[in-house]
């Protein structure tokens, strides 16, 4: 490299890629590094959810709403190529209790600005003809969208490079250098790179990167499995999930939670999630969980019983104890910014999170108050 970049982004997943594009569009010269390749971590293990439906009113919902629009702006900006589709979400209730809490949620979401529609059984059937007859109530969210996350990260990185950014793959960070309370650069297996701004966008591994600088972040992996069917004719038209999923997402429990999330994709496959459990970076496949996922999916869509399962994969969501992402400057080191901990919502939240980071680095007001996401909140929690 001829001269030092203005900012180094560690991590070429969706969060790193969108951050790099935001900073590049704001005029900075960026260098993105990754120990693997583009989108080889959690980004490659998700469904590509861009959801507003699964969030209760609060800062994360504000972030999600802005981010959902930002996704379509990115498509416009770089020319797409990542299967972005506003397919709409359908949340169904399978019990009286579930229905009551769903109605309470949609009412609150509407106040917060979400298009959350309580729908009748006739509308439900029209949206998803193969839905189980035991399901009679639901809510429809036309804003819910989806993209192919690896392609999204790769195309965003491609655009970043076309605008002057650099990418170095296979660069394992071994040290982060600091001077007088500010970061100065990174030492990697591919050489040393210096810049006054370093963004930690390493998702599930963000705590380890923070530690290299002498700071800390309480981000832990939350394991999840996804089933992928053989390509099939279109039988599922939206992202359909059980109202219990919303409760599971916000659960602090370490044990296994699982609720059906079923959706068809543009490639003809059907994706089935979603399990969550905190078991560390545990490898391999737990076939009992696959079985639970299959059962729950068939309960929603009995037609799935005859559909073939083709693949199953596992990912580790980056999980922070209060379920909020970590977006902002490190409380100890100046110039060290964290953009991580988005759990299962990283794809959806990435563009707006990148915007917050960018506005923070340029020290200018943003579309929302970033304080709830500040890394400093953990230091305070530890102190009190």
């Amino acid at each position: 490299m001829n001269s030092n970049p203005d900012a180094i982004i560690i991590g070429a997943g969706i969060v790193g890629a969108t951050t790099a594009l935001s900073l590049t569009n704001a005029g900075m010269k960026v260098l993105v590094i990754d120990r693997g390749n583009v989108a080889t971590g959690t980004t490659s293990a998700g469904e590509g959810n861009i959801l507003v439906s699964d969030k209760a009113p609060g800062p994360e919902l504000d972030l999600a709403l802005r981010s959902r629009d930002a996704w379509f702006e990115i498509q416009e900006d770089i020319g797409g190529g990542f299967e972005l589709e506003a397919k709409g979400g359908l949340v169904v209730a399978r019990s009286e209790d579930g229905l009551r809490s769903l109605r309470t949620l949609t009412a609150a979401q509407r106040i917060a600005g979400i298009d959350a529609q309580d729908i009748s059984i006739t509308e439900l059937r029209a949206l998803e003809p193969h839905l189980s007859h035991s399901i009679t109530d639901g809510a429809f969210y036309p804003q819910d969208a989806q993209c192919q996350p690896m392609l999204a990260a790769a195309h965003i990185l491609r655009a970043t490079k076309a605008r002057g950014g650099k990418f170095v793959s296979g660069a394992n960070v071994t040290a982060i250098t600091t001077n007088d309370g500010a970061v100065t650069g990174v030492v990697t297996s591919q050489g040393t790179f210096n810049a006054p701004v370093i963004v930690n966008a390493t998702g599930t591994w963000a705590g380890q990167i923070a530690q290299l600088a002498g700071s800390a972040l309480p981000i832990a992996p939350r394991r999840g499995f996804i089933l992928v069917s053989a390509p099939t004719r279109k039988i599922i038209f939206h992202k359909v999930y059980d109202a219990e999923y919303v409760a599971n997402v916000s659960s602090g429990d370490a044990d296994l939670q699982s609720s059906a999330v079923v959706e068809g994709t543009q490639s003809g496959t059907i994706l089935i999630g979603a399990s969550r459990e905190r078991v560390g970076f545990q490898d391999g496949i737990d076939f009992e969980i696959l079985r639970i996922l299959a059962r729950q999916a068939i309960a929603l869509f009995p037609i799935l019983a005859d559909i073939q399962l083709l693949r199953a994969y596992r990912g580790f969501r980056p999980y922070a104890p209060d379920h909020l992402p970590v977006i902002g400057e490190d409380p100890i080191f100046k110039g060290f910014w964290h953009n991580a901990g988005h759990e299962g919502a990283g794809i959806g939240l990435a563009p707006a999170s990148a915007q917050l980071i960018c506005d923070g680095i340029f020290d200018r007001p943003s579309f929302m108050n970033p304080t709830p996401f500040a890394p400093a909140r953990f230091a305070k929690a530890a102190a009190s």
Binding site: A154, S169, S229, I285, F287, A294, I298, Q308
Partner: protein, 455 residues
């Protein structure tokens, strides 16, 4: 249902049959699993009809004796039509799931065999273009001649029995097209003569082909295929090629079937699901790494997992039989005959390596491709799509290429295209071995997965 056996053998071809026989004769209670309805594997594939003429097979007498002995052996339980969809290690034992339950063992012998290696070229997805093994299986398994005007092409000794079998059973073979030179075997003559049985087998095929007036052409390859208005194969373009497989001139042949084989690819899908150590063999294929006793290397060192036959390296039936016997004895902790068997194995391995030197596959096949050529048949991914993922999206390894183009993501799970994609990306060995972890070995329905009582 949970079924426990002292030793479980997967695959009913030569290696698996011999593994089961030797393990049982050494005193073990053995289960022999195969996804097909009848034993024999690809090599001894047969119709199962008593009155049928089994002369379609070379060496079928040896196979029949072995299969009869297995069927009669009270220590061996045969499970035909049994497809294992997942394999994993739980509490120090291997759990092999099939649609109604699971087999459990601490001593497993994998003999999952191989399938034809295919090289992509424009039109290879047209119905009528098939592997040499497909033409062979139609004949041996169903007694059907694949077409009316058949070209057999590719490279390697397997083309001879395929062409000879078709022509001696009434098929019209309008050409046998071999990429290697007519005298490619000459430098290896001394080594080849160590195996007179194989030489005489080969001469037998040549005699059959001469009688049937099948024209043999050398240093040529099928480089494109063309469809008629119904979308069926009408003609092929054949090229004269140099040692690097680059095209020097072309001509065309009318045919309704082109049966093309470029040697074989080991089927390591189950070994991969179990996380067994793999390596890249001399011919470039990914194989299961084994020790002197055919034992594979697993992170679970308490397990006794063996691999035998084509999945440890392409080598033919004689090598498979020897490896199967050694694996069977080793799984039973027996040392009887081991030295003699290892001598046979050594000789068969040497012969296999000789054949690989006679019939090398050069990377010049990449020059046959056009941007529109399909590379991944399942997901219809073109050469251009893979190239642009590589140049524009940094997809320089198989996993990235897969996730960005969908190549290798379809129904066959990359079995046909992954080696070709690795060649197109010039992947290093480490990338080829690492592959992609595929826990679902064979598709099952979600309803089957959701059943009770599965592990």
């Amino acid at each position: 249902m949970e079924l426990r056996h002292q030793v479980i053998v997967i695959g009913g071809g030569p290696a698996g049959l011999n593994a089961a026989k030797y393990a049982a004769n050494a005193g073990c209670n053995v289960a022999l699993l195969d996804s097909a309805p009848r034993l024999g594997g690809q090599y001894w594939r047969h119709t199962g009809i008593e009155s049928d003429d089994q002369s379609r097979h070379h060496n079928f007498d040896q196979g029949s004796l072995l299969m009869d002995a297995i069927i009669a052996n009270p220590r061996i339980t045969i499970y035909p039509n049994t497809t294992i969809w997942s394999a994993s290690v739980i509490n120090g034992e291997v759990v092999l799931r099939y649609k109604d339950g699971a087999f459990i063992t601490s001593r497993l012998i994998l003999a999952t065999g191989a399938y034809d290696r295919s090289l992509p070229f424009p039109g290879w997805d047209i119905p009528g273009v098939m592997t040499a093994g497909a033409a062979q299986s139609l004949l041996k398994g169903s007694g059907v001649i694949a077409g009316k005007r058949i070209v057999v092409a590719g490279s390697g000794p397997f083309l001879l029995p395929v062409a000879a079998g078709l022509s001696s059973h009434g098929g019209k073979v309008v050409g046998l097209i071999e990429a290697a030179g007519k005298f490619a075997w000459l430098p290896e003559i001394l080594s080849l003569l160590q195996n007179p049985a194989k030489i005489s087998e080969g001469l037998g095929y040549l005699l059959t082909l001469r009688k049937a007036k099948v024209e043999m052409r050398f240093k040529q390859a099928v480089i494109s295929a063309h469809a008629d208005s119904d979308g069926l194969l009408e003609s092929i373009t054949v090229a004269n090629i140099d040692a690097e497989f680059h095209i020097t001139s072309t001509y065309s042949i009318n045919c309704d079937v082109a049966a093309i084989g470029w040697g074989f690819t080991p089927d390591t899908s189950m070994a991969g699901a179990l996380g067994l150590k793999e390596e890249v063999a001399a011919d470039g294929s990914v194989v299961v790494a084994v020790d002197e006793n055919q034992r594979a290397s697993s992170a679970h060192s308490e397990l006794h997992i063996f691999a035998a036959g084509e999945i440890t390296g392409i080598g033919g039936s004689a090598l498979s039989l020897a490896e199967g016997a050694i694996a069977g004895l080793a799984a039973a902790d027996s040392r009887t005959n081991l030295r003699d068997l290892k001598k046979i194995r050594r000789k068969a391995r040497r012969f296999a390596l000789t054949l690989q030197r006679v019939y090398p596959i050069a990377l010049g096949w990449k020059s046959w491709l056009t941007p529109e050529t399909i590379i991944c048949r399942c997901e219809e991914v073109t050469h251009a799509a893979i190239q642009s993922a590589f140049t524009e999206l940094d997809a320089d390894d198989a996993r990235s290429a897969k996730l960005m183009t969908r190549c290798g993501m379809g129904m066959c799970q990359g079995r046909i295209c992954s080696r070709n994609v690795a060649d197109l990306l010039d992947s290093p060995d480490a990338d080829r071995i690492k592959g992609v972890y595929r826990p679902i070995i064979s598709p099952i329905t979600l309803g089957e997965l959701a059943q009770d009582g599965l592990l």
